[in-house]
Chain length 450, copies 2
C-alpha cells in the first residue's frame, strides 16, 4: 500500500520544525518510506527540508538524497560539507553515488571523493565517473556477484555469501575466466535447485546477453526490453566484466525518452518540469515560438501575393486559419505515428508502399472532411457554392501534402542521424502552415481566376 501525503501531514511537520521538536519529527517519519520523505521534502521550503535532513539517520538520508528532485538535492548538498556528503555516498551503491557526485560543482567533486571511507567503493565510483552518462558505462553499477569458471559450486556459494553482502539485489551470478572476461551466467534458480557438489563449468549457461560500456543508454533499454532482461552485464573493450545494469535504471531511461519525444512534439526542447524556473522554461520554449513567428512572417508574405483576391473573394481569407489548422493537425498525426514507429523499431516495408498508404489514408479522411466542408460552408457559413468547392479541393490537396511532409521528414531526419521527434510539433506545423496557405491560394486562383 502506498502512503498518501496529506496537507495536514505537511502542516504538522512544518509546525514541529518551527517548534524544533526533533524527537516528535523522527517518530512521525520513522515508518515512512524514503521515497515519501523525499516527496514531503519537496513540499517544504529549503531551510525546512535541510532541517529535516539533518535530524534523520544517515542510512535513510542517503536514500532520500537519491529520490529528491534535482533542485532540492542541489540546495541540500550545498549546506553539507564534503565529509558529510561522503558519509551519505558511502551508504549508496556505486552507480547512485557516482550520479550524485556528477551533479556536484567541479571543485567539490574531488573533495568529496577524498573523504570516502571505503577505498574499494571510492575506486569504483571514480571509475564510473569516467563514462559518459548516456552510455551503458554511465548507467551501470559495480555491485555484482561473479564467480570463476574454475570453481566448484561449494566455493562459489561461499564466495557469493561474501559478495552478496554488498549487493542489494542479486539478479544473476556471472561467470568469468581467470582474466575476468565474461563467460556466462548462473541463475539463482539453478542455484536453488542444483546440488552443491556440481562444478561450475558444468552448470553455467555460456550464452549471455551483454552490452559494452560504450553502448548508448537507449540501446541498452531496447535490448533489455526486447529480451525481457532484469539485469545485463557490461563488458569493456577487452570483454572483461566491469559492471551490470538493472531494470530499474532502465525504467528511468524509457520514461525519460518517451517524455522527451512528447516534449519535442509540444515544442519544448529541454527536459523541463512545471516547477522549473521561468528562465529555464523560457530557454526550452522560446526558440520554438520564434521559429513559429518567423514561419508566420512567411505566411503573411504569401498572403500578400494573393491580395488581389480580396476584392472579389474576400471570404477566401476567412478560411486561412482553417486550412492552416488542418494541415498542421494532419502533419502532426502522420509524424507522430512515424516517430513512435521509429522509436519502437516497428516500421516495416518500403518507402514507396508507405507513401501509397499515407496518400490513400489521407484521401479517405480528406473526402469525408471535404464533404462536411461543402455542406457546412453552404448551410452554416454563407459562402457561395463556388468558394465552398474551392476550399474543399484545396483542403484535400493541402492535407495530402501535409501528411507526406509529416511522414517523410521524420524518416529523413532519422536517416541523417537527427532525432526524428524534432520533426513533430512546431517544426511540422509551421512548414505545413506555409505550404498549406500557398497551395490553397494557388488552387483558389486556378479555380476562381482572380
Amino acid at each position: 500500500m502506498e502512503f498518501k501525503i496529506s496537507k495536514d501531514f505537511i502542516a504538522q511537520i512544518e509546525q514541529y520544525i518551527s517548534e524544533n521538536r526533533e524527537e516528535q519529527l523522527v517518530a512521525l517519519l520513522e515508518d515512512i518510506h524514503f521515497a515519501d520523505i523525499a516527496e514531503i521534502m519537496g513540499e517544504l521550503d529549503s531551510s525546512e527540508a535541510s532541517y529535516l535532513f539533518h535530524i534523520l539517520d544517515s542510512e535513510k538520508t542517503a536514500e532520500i538524497l537519491l529520490e529528491l528532485d534535482e533542485e532540492v538535492r542541489e540546495k541540500i548538498l550545498k549546506d553539507l560539507s564534503p565529509k558529510e556528503i561522503a558519509e551519505e555516498l558511502d551508504e549508496l551503491s556505486t552507480d547512485d553515488a557516482a550520479d550524485i557526485i556528477a551533479e556536484l560543482p567541479e571543485d567539490k567533486k574531488g573533495e568529496v571523493i577524498q573523504e570516502l571511507v571505503d577505498a574499494e567503493h571510492a575506486k569504483d565510483i571514480v571509475e564510473l565517473l569516467r563514462y559518459d552518462e548516456d552510455t551503458a558505462g554511465g548507467l551501470m553499477g559495480k555491485e555484482l556477484v561473479k564467480v570463476n569458471e574454475n570453481w566448484n559450486v561449494l566455493t562459489c556459494v561461499r564466495e557469493m555469501r561474501v559478495q552478496a553482502e554488498n549487493v542489494q539485489r542479486v539478479h544473476s551470478i556471472y561467470v568469468v575466466d581467470d582474466e575476468g572476461r565474461l563467460k556466462g551466467r548462473l541463475s539463482l534458480k539453478d542455484l536453488l535447485v542444483t546440488s552443491t557438489k556440481t562444478p561450475i563449468s558444468e552448470v553455467y549457461i555460456p550464452k549471455v546477453d551483454y552490452v559494452k560500456v560504450t553502448t548508448p543508454d537507449v540501446e541498452v533499454a531496447r535490448i533489455m526490453q526486447k529480451y525481457d532482461l532484469e539485469a545485463i552485464p557490461v563488458v569493456d573493450e577487452l570483454g572483461r566484466l566491469v559492471g551490470r545494469i538493472t531494470i530499474d535504471d532502465i525504467v528511468d531511461v524509457i520514461k525519460e525518452e518517451a517524455d522527451k519525444d512528447y516534449q519535442l512534439a509540444a515544442g519544448i526542447s529541454q527536459d523541463v518540469e512545471a516547477d522549473d524556473s521561468i528562465l529555464e522554461l523560457t530557454r526550452a520554449r522560446l526558440p520554438w515560438l520564434i521559429l513559429a513567428l518567423l514561419g508566420g512572417f512567411v505566411t503573411v508574405k504569401v498572403m500578400g501575393i494573393f491580395e488581389p483576391a480580396m476584392k472579389n473573394h474576400g471570404e477566401l481569407f476567412f478560411f486561412t486559419p482553417l486550412i492552416a489548422a488542418m494541415a498542421g493537425n494532419v502533419g502532426v498525426q502522420s509524424s507522430a505515428i512515424i516517430v513512435q514507429g521509429l522509436a519502437n523499431n516497428s516500421i516495416s516495408g518500403s518507402l514507396f508502399s508507405r507513401l501509397v498508404k499515407e496518400v490513400l489514408l489521407t484521401l479517405l479522411n480528406g473526402s469525408i472532411l471535404a464533404l462536411i466542408l461543402i455542406l457546412g460552408s453552404h448551410f452554416l457559413l454563407d459562402v457561395s457554392y463556388e468558394v465552398g468547392l474551392t476550399v474543399s479541393v484545396s483542403l484535400v490537396s493541402v492535407i495530402v501534402i501535409a501528411s507526406l511532409i509529416g511522414t517523410f521528414v521524420p524518416i529523413l531526419l532519422n536517416k541523417v542521424g537527427v532525432d526524428p521527434a524534432l520533426a513533430t510539433g512546431p517544426f511540422i506545423t509551421t512548414s505545413n502552415d506555409i505550404c498549406g496557405i500557398l497551395i490553397y491560394f494557388s488552387i483558389a486562383k486556378a479555380i476562381l481566376g482572380f
Copy 2:
C-alpha cells in the same frame, strides 16, 4: 550482444521455406533468441510465418507467440487447433497464457481452456481471465514463492525448491498466515546469508508493499517506480495473497502510457501503429480532424464579423494564421508541461501561484516575440507601424490567454477525472485558434477603429 536481422538473412529463410528445407531452417534458427525469431516472422508473409512456427520446438514457439505483433499472432493462432494452442499455453506463465487466451474469439476460448493439460495451471489462468486487463489483477501472474509464517527456514527452503521449479524468476519470497493472508516477505539475499536453522517468524520483514487486485495498472506502475520495486504482491479483498506483478510487465505499462499521452497530444485517439490498416488509422485520426474542421468553421464565422476591416486594413487578415499558430503553440507547450507534471505527480504549489507564474512566463516570452514582430513587420513585411503595433499587442494578449487555457484545462480535466492528455493536441489548438482570432480582431478594432 544483440542479433541484427539483415535483409540477406530474411531472404535466406524465405528461400529455405520455399524449398521446404526444414532441417536447414531449424539449424539456422537454433541459436537465435525467440524475440528475434518473432521479429523475423513479422517480416515474412503469413503463410511463411506459419510454416516456420510449425517446424520449431514447442518450447520455443510458446515464447515466440508471446513476442509476436498482435496481428501476426492472430493469424498464426487461427491456423492452430484448440489442442495445439493449449500445448503452447502449457509452456507459458499464467499471466502470459491468460493474455493470449483473452485475445482469442469467444467460442475458441473455452475449447482451448478445456485442452490445457495441467489442471492447476488451467485453474490459475481461468482465475486471471476474470480480472479487468487494466488492473493489478489483469497484470499479475500466479507464479510466486510463498511460505507459511509458522514454518522454519529448513521447511521453507525445501518447499521453495519445489515451488521454484514453476517460477521463472524468484523475486521475493512472500510470507502468509494459515488463511493465506499476506504477512510480509523474505528477501533472497536474507536467504543466502542466514543460517538455515532460524525460524521464519524471526527473519521475515513484516513491512511489505502490496496492491489490491482492483488497483489500476498505471497506479501499480507509479508505486513500483516510486518505491523502486522489482515485484509487488497482489492481494484480494480479504488480504489474501493471490498473485504478483513483476517489473517487466510494468515497463510495458509505462511505455504504453507515455506513448498514449504522446498520441493524444498529436491527435490520435487509439493505440495505433504505422503498420495498422488504413481503417484503423482513420478511426484513430478522423474524429480529431472533424473536431478541428468544426473549430475552423467557427473561426470563419468570427472573421466574418470583422469583414468591414477588410476595406481599410485588409493586411490584418494576413496575420490570422500567424496569430492562430502562436496561440496554438503556446497552448500546447503549457498543457504538455502540466500533463507531464500530473502524470509524474510532480506539480506542487497552489493554483494561484501557478497562474501568476504562467502569466509572467508568457509575458516574458511575449515581450521578446512582440519586439521581433514589430521589427519584422516594419522591415520585412511592409505593413504600417500602426498595424505592426496592433498585431504585437494582440499577440501578447492572445498567447497569455492561450497559456492560461493550456495550463488550466488539463488541471480541470484531471480534477473531474478525465485524462488531461486529451487537452493537448487538436483540442487545445482548436479552441486557441478561435479565442486567438476573436481577441486579435477585437483589439485591432479597438486600436484601429474600423
